[in-house]
């Protein structure tokens, strides 16, 4: 058995033991199902949601599309503004105090306002998600652009590079890795914003279902959805890492 395989086997054994004890506790009512649910119940809930009544798919679709739209919107706006700051340093000076106040505010506290403005539907969730992803990408874009090596600038200037050549051939490519690590974080935070919004008030979405299951004391539903959200988060991070590796082979 190789070392890698042994690690997997150890994990599998641990998880099986954990779930087994949980299930045993639930059946003997040592662990009240009202608070903890049971592994069998969770599987049954997810099976029903995905394969029998197929109700989860719609909510999953709402959450995923809300997340992606917030991410793309927030990231695009932030990168555009961040790059505009490079070209117009005065704009950054002028906007800096306002951005700082907005960024310092816990964005989820804006949810009630966004719900009023954009309604119970996906619009308000996108607004919250965007407000989170925007600032992360903005900070990383600015940091990335600032982190450009002075040697590269000196060399390019000595060769007679124009400001736009320096921007496209030096500044921008050197900022890409930092921007990318911001993007990865922004995707997670977009999801956080959307689910937070759904928990507060929504018609659809995994957050809304979670809140409903909790209110009706269906712990199998709550636990099942938590597991689903964890998987979703992992999938998103993995995907971004793959993309990053493919795009940034030189790193």
């Amino acid at each position: 058995m190789t070392a890698g395989l042994r690690v997997y086997a150890a994990h599998a054994a641990f998880i099986a033991t954990f779930l087994g004890l949980w299930e045993y506790g639930a059946r003997t009512e040592f662990l009240p199902q009202l608070f903890f649910g049971s592994p069998a119940g969770i599987v049954a809930y997810l099976w029903d949601g995905f394969a029998v009544s197929k109700k989860i798919w719609l909510d999953l679709g709402y959450t995923v599309s809300g997340t992606l739209i917030s991410f793309v919107l927030g990231a695009t706006l932030a990168m555009a503004l961040g790059l505009a700051f490079v070209i117009l340093p005065k704009l950054e000076q002028a906007m800096d105090p306002y951005l700082m106040v907005l960024n310092a505010m816990p964005r989820i506290a804006l949810a009630p306002l966004f719900l009023l403005w954009f309604g119970l539907g996906i619009g308000s969730k996108i607004a919250i998600g965007t407000s989170l992803s925007f600032f992360i990408v903005l900070a990383n874009t600015v940091a990335g652009v600032r982190g450009v090596s002075p040697d590269h600038i000196t060399l390019s200037r000595s060769l007679g590079a124009s400001p736009s050549q320096i921007f496209f051939k030096v500044t921008l490519p050197s900022a890409v890795p930092v921007i990318f690590s911001g993007l990865r974080l922004a995707l997670i935070f977009s999801m956080l914003g959307v689910i937070g919004g759904e928990i507060i008030a929504a018609e659809h979405g995994l957050g809304q279902v979670l809140s409903y299951q909790q209110a009706t004391f269906n712990m199998n539903g709550v636990m099942g959805l938590l597991a689903l959200l964890a998987c979703l988060g992992m999938l998103v991070t993995r995907g971004m890492s793959r993309l990053e590796r493919a795009l940034l082979k030189w790193q």
């Binding site: 090596s149 000196t154 000595s158 060769l159 007679g160 590079a161 051939k169 050197s174 030189w250 790193q251």
Partner: protein
């Protein structure tokens, strides 16, 4: 006409006198090294020649023109390799030509030729992070020699290398230079390197930077840096210059004849 003329150059940074009344004439095809302790204004001098630093007092002309950033007659090589990490070795070697607007096919052909000469023919698709320090500096040499500028300014290009790699690259530089004999201004704080490479060595003092000694190096060419290190002549010149350098470290004495 001299390739480079520096006349009565004085540089101040605020209240600090960095370079004091320096005049240097460099002939076309001459390889001149400038040595001196750190802070003697060597790099300042080079930045003035590249036009990256504005000239305030005194006169500098390069092939009859005042220095300006982007002068096509000047190729600049920095202390660190400054390869762009997101570009392959080939794209790095041709970067200078790219900025100067040379068409892709032409610049890549020229870069391939230079990469072959510096021994990196098999590495044109590699990323800089995959190259050793020595190889990276070879790539930077290729990038510099790709430019057909008649004047080359080098700011301690081998300063960060280990002793053995440094010897190899010094010989490589001599080989490349010997084929074309362009005008070179080479900044270093390694006296041995200066003697081995140059036609003339200029010793500068600690701040304020003044010329302490100028010495022609009449060693026969083509040279081999490794062979030179065994020669008596080399060591005589070295110890002569070392005295001047030592005197200069204490401040700025009058010119030693």
């Amino acid at each position: 006409m001299a390739a480079i003329e520096i006349e009565r150059l004085t540089v101040r940074f605020g209240d600090v006198l960095a370079v004091d009344d320096v005049s240097i004439q460099i002939e076309e095809g001459e390889f001149v090294s400038i040595v001196g302790p750190s802070g003697c204004g060597k790099t300042t001098l080079l930045n003035l020649l590249t036009g990256l630093l504005p000239l305030e007092s005194g006169g500098i002309s390069i092939l009859g023109k005042r220095p300006f950033a982007g002068n096509p007659e000047v190729a600049y090589m920095l202390a660190r390799d400054s390869l762009l990490p997101w570009r392959s070795t080939l794209a790095n070697a041709s970067y200078g030509l790219e900025i100067r607007g040379v068409a892709k096919e032409l610049r890549e052909a020229k870069a391939r030729q230079l990469l072959a000469r510096v021994g990196l023919a098999d590495f044109e698709r590699h990323w800089p992070k995959q190259l050793s320090h020595g190889m990276r500096q070879r790539a930077a040499l290729a990038r510099t020699f790709c430019l057909d500028s008649p004047v080359m300014l080098m700011d301690e290009p081998f300063g960060a290398l280990d002793a053995q790699t440094k010897l190899q690259l010094e010989d490589l530089l001599l080989e490349l230079w010997n084929a074309e004999r362009r005008t070179v201004v080479f900044i270093t704080h390694d006296l041995g390197e200066a003697v081995a490479l140059s036609d003339r060595v200029i010793v500068m003092s600690a701040r304020p930077g003044r010329i302490v000694k100028q010495m022609p190096i009449d060693l026969p060419r083509p040279r081999s840096v490794r062979a030179l290190q065994k020669s008596h002549e080399f060591h005589d010149i070295y110890s002569d210059l070392w005295e001047a350098l030592e005197a200069g470290m204490k401040g700025a004495p009058a010119m030693i004849e």
